[in-house]
């Protein structure tokens, strides 16, 4: 594999990490959703490039799913939900932007150190991909922890899932990648549309997950 292929793959995967960072400091929901669409776009490009490089046409399916479902459908659905719930003006982060970003940088460094140390004799592309994927995953988890709003947490969860897909496509010859991505998409779909938001809306009249705690009667 030539240096060019590697550089492009590197670029897309690095772009995914960058977009994850962008999500960390968004404090408005619409902006967060839009950035998530951008995240999905970066994933689409990365997966499509892998499909081309690895000569694995089935990965194009994953790319199409990422494009159609994650980049278009979910952001549109979330837009609708936010508008219908009237929470588009909500602003909240639990920790300040500065510390969150610093923590994020630390996480990226950690994932680099871990993956590069553990896989010294793997394929160079796979190594880089895995390192970025772990970084995306950890940043998604950080996003979930840092948000109080359910929509924010769902987006954090979905960006984690993007990181998993990135890892799965980066490793050459990994079986069942397409199936995994389809399955994850379904999980996300259920997560987003079905149970979570509407139920919270019906019962608590807010999408703040803090309300769940009150409902459990465990926090006054």
């Amino acid at each position: 594999m030539g240096g060019f292929y590697f550089d492009v793959a590197h670029l897309f995967a690095g772009g995914l990490v960058l977009v994850s960072f962008m999500m960390l400091y968004q404090d408005r929901l619409y902006a967060l959703i839009n950035i998530y669409a951008l995240h999905a776009l970066a994933l689409t490009l990365s997966v499509a490039w892998q499909a081309y490089v690895q000569d694995a046409p089935h990965l194009f399916i994953t790319a199409v799913i990422a494009l159609g479902f994650k980049m278009l459908f979910i952001p549109l659905a979330l837009h609708t939900i936010v508008r219908r719930l009237g929470i588009h003006r909500d602003i909240e982060t639990v920790v300040g932007v500065g510390p969150t970003m610093l923590l994020g940088i630390g996480l990226v460094a950690l994932s680099m150190v871990v993956v590069l140390k553990v896989t010294p004799d793997a394929d160079a592309l796979a190594r880089e991909d895995l390192a970025f994927a772990l970084a995306v995953l950890l940043l998604g988890l950080l996003l979930m922890v840092a948000r109080r709003n359910a929509v924010g947490q769902v987006i954090g969860f979905m960006s984690m899932e993007n990181g998993l897909i990135l890892a799965a496509t980066g490793a050459r010859g990994m079986p069942l990648v397409v199936e995994i991505s389809v399955a994850f998409s379904i999980v996300v779909a259920f997560f987003v549309i079905g149970v979570f938001l509407f139920r919270i809306r019906e019962r608590f009249d807010t999408v703040d997950v803090g309300a769940l705690d009150e409902h459990r009667g465990e926090r006054g």
């Binding site: 639990v94 950080l142 947490q153 769940l212």
Partner: protein, 672 residues
């Protein structure tokens, strides 16, 4: 399906079927006799088969069933060691079933006892037959759970329920340790078959860890101090024939587990192993008998004596480990023979004593010795059997307890040849502890026999006691016969153990005893020491007969019955007799004030008050207060703290996941 182990497995299956029968016909009145009869029959068949197997120096026979873990199956194997312990199990089972044919009639809730009784026997058989870790642990748990069910059979009593809880906790803890031990033995490849473990013994560090885990795991079931706490609560709580099985047989199964792991699977021993085993064993034997002396509940007293005797058996095993570590296999064979013979003997006389206590319980309805007295007149057969059992457990010649303890002492006397200074000091100290425990055991049984059977009845129940049924007496007399035979003619029994010892002691066993003149036993050399049970027995018999003859011949025949001289103030109340607690007082003052921090408090009535003075004795259990109370308090406190984890918010749970993940990654990053 013709080899011995298959036949034995069929017998186990029959035993399990008996348990099913007990469940199905639990409402029928005669089901007790049926279940005990079948158990007696099955166990006797197994005993006969095993005797043939052991006498014919039977080859190792094995079989495997397509049960259990799919890639291992359920493997069973019969070698010399397992046939010896199966013999103990099935002999104990047969005799207990015979006893229960009579005793079981007084059971008020037979449907709570019968199914578990049969399954308990099957479980113990399976533990000894198992040839892979999975089958072993599964059978071990079957044995623990069924015996737990028997302990809580009379669940209406608060004390029994408490005993059940403590037993369950300790049994789980013991199994957990054994689980870890087998996990370490199997290694990362997951070789759980005993053959695979034997082929690939672990390194010295792992082996040491396995030894400790096996000692804790098997020791907690056998009753090593300080893991014995459940034993004196649980054994007496069960019906008496089950108490006999638990004390006489189940502790032996635990010892079998220890021997199987440490002598067979673990490879060559390191010298410090014996240090640990001997120290624990010595403490166990003395603590057990001291606890027993403080007890006035007959069954609990017997249970504490089980603790003591397990200590004595472990002294033999520890010595064997020490000798084997230094390649002195001859001495090691002697020590191992002593330990194994004591295991056999203890199962015989402890069953006998528990049967006796069951007979007393049936006759008087009492377990408290202070309510008994004078039973020798009402229950002469039980009294005789109990006396023989007491003499045997006190290691008096010419009974069986003496032989094995004497052999243990012979092994201890060889210890100066050991090159290690630590052992040179520890072994004689252990010997001193053993001597002390033997002497105290004798004192304890003088107390038990004297208070129960001699003197005047201390309660109405004791006055109205009647001799028990024929089945119970037959079982007791059978055991009396064994106490005498093993004591008088120990040679053949030592030879019976030879193949077992050979298989564990690098092919060495004690010298052949059957050919020695006058049926003596000679453990090392004639010039050093020998013991002739027959001679001692004849001497005792002849001298006793001569003494009796002389008294009757030459003493005045003009006997005259009258009141004993009583300082002119006859007191008809039996409560003025010497009591169990007064008997124990001197020993309580000497040892109890040190070990149990015993305090005696005399409350005198004020002048003019006609009320009686009171003597209160307060004892503190050092093991319970020193180890178990802090541990349980610590666990409860920790549980209280961790309780808060249930009530976190979703974000806090996520935070937990997140920080755990980051922490693990950090560990990975730094450690690699």
């Amino acid at each position: 399906m013709t080899n011995s182990v298959s036949v034995l497995l069929l017998l186990v299956a029959a035993q399990l079927a008996t348990a099913v029968i007990a469940v199905v016909f639990s409402r029928s009145a005669s089901v007790g006799r049926l279940v005990y009869g079948l158990s007696f029959f099955i166990s006797s068949l197994a005993v006969v088969l095993l005797l043939f197997h052991l006498l014919a120096l039977g080859e190792v026979s094995r079989t495997s069933l397509p049960l259990g873990l799919p890639w291992i199956g359920a493997n069973f194997r019969l070698d010399a060691l397992s046939s010896l312990f199966l013999l103990i199990v099935d002999f104990g089972g047969a005799i207990a079933s015979l006893y229960a044919l009579g005793y079981g009639r007084h059971e008020d809730a037979p449907h709570r006892v019968l199914p578990f009784y049969a399954a308990f026997l099957a479980g113990m058989n399976l533990v000894v037959l198992a040839d892979d870790a999975f089958t072993f642990l599964l059978s071990w748990e079957l044995m623990s759970l069924t015996s737990w069910a028997l302990v809580v059979a009379h669940h209406r009593s608060e004390a029994n329920r408490k005993a059940g809880v403590i037993y369950l906790v300790m049994a789980s803890f013991g199994t957990f340790c054994l689980l870890l031990a087998f996990g370490l033995l199997a290694g990362s490849a997951g070789a759980y078959g005993f053959d695979a473990i034997r082929a690939l013994p672990p390194g010295p560090g792992i082996a040491g860890l396995v030894l400790i885990l096996a000692l804790v795991g098997a020791g907690s079931k056998a009753g090593l101090v300080p893991l014995h706490v459940w034993l004196p609560l649980a054994h007496p709580a069960a019906p008496s024939h089950v108490s006999a099985l638990m004390s006489g047989v189940m502790t032996k199964v635990a010892i079998y587990g220890f021997i199987r792991i440490v002598f067979d699977l673990l490879g060559p021993p390191a010298w410090w192993w014996s240090l640990v085993v001997l120290a624990l064993a010595g403490i166990t034997s003395v603590m057990g008998v001291l606890y027993a002396l403080m007890q006035h509940d007959i069954k609990r007293l017997l249970a504490y004596h089980t603790v003591e005797n397990v200590g004595i058996i472990f002294i033999g095993l520890g010595l064997a480990l020490a000798f084997r570590a230094y390649g002195m296999v001859g001495a090691g064979a002697l020590a191992l023979t002593a330990g194994l013979l004591h295991a056999v003997n203890h199962s015989v006389f402890k069953s006998l004593l528990f049967f006796g206590s069951g007979a007393i319980l049936t006759a008087t309805g009492e377990r408290d010795m202070e309510q008994m007295g004078g039973l020798i007149h009402r229950m002469p057969h039980t009294a005789f059997a109990f006396l023989v059992g007491s003499a045997a457990i006190s290691a008096l010649p010419p009974l069986n307890g003496f032989v094995s303890e004497w052999l243990t002492f012979q092994a201890i006397l060889l210890s100066p040849q050991l090159p290690s200074w630590g052992l040179k000091f520890l072994v004689p100290a252990t010997g001193a502890l053993l001597a002390l425990s033997a002497a105290l055991a004798a004192a304890c049984f003088v107390k038990a026999f004297g208070i129960i059977f001699l003197g005047r009845p201390r309660s109405d129940a004791a006055t109205k006691a009647r001799e028990v049924d024929r089945f119970s007496l037959a079982a007791m007399y059978a055991l009396v016969a064994f106490c005498l035979i093993i004591g008088i003619l120990p040679g053949p029994f030592i030879d019976l153990l030879a193949p077992v010892v050979k298989s564990l002691m690098l092919g060495q066993s004690m010298p052949h005893q059957s050919g020695v003149a006058w049926m003596s036993i000679v453990p090392i050399a004639e010039s050093r020491s020998s013991y002739n049970g027959l001679l001692v027995f004849l001497f005792i018999a002849v001298s006793a007969w001569l003494a009796a003859l002389a008294i009757h011949r030459f003493a005045s025949r003009a006997t005259r019955r009258g009141p004993a001289w009583d300082c002119g103030a006859p007191d008809p109340r039996p409560i003025t007799q010497y009591s169990a607690s007064s008997f124990a007082q001197p020993i309580r003052r000497v040892f109890g004030s040190l070990v149990f921090r015993a305090r005696e408090n005399v409350v005198m009535p004020p002048p003019g008050d006609l009320g009686p003075a009171r003597l209160d004795v307060a004892l503190i259990d050092p093991v319970w207060d020193g180890i178990y109370k802090p541990v349980s308090a610590g666990i409860l406190g920790l549980a209280d703290r961790l309780n808060r984890l249930q009530f976190l918010t979703i974000r806090q749970f996520l935070m937990l996941v997140f920080s755990t993940l980051v922490l693990l990654l950090l560990v990975l990053a730094i450690w690699q």
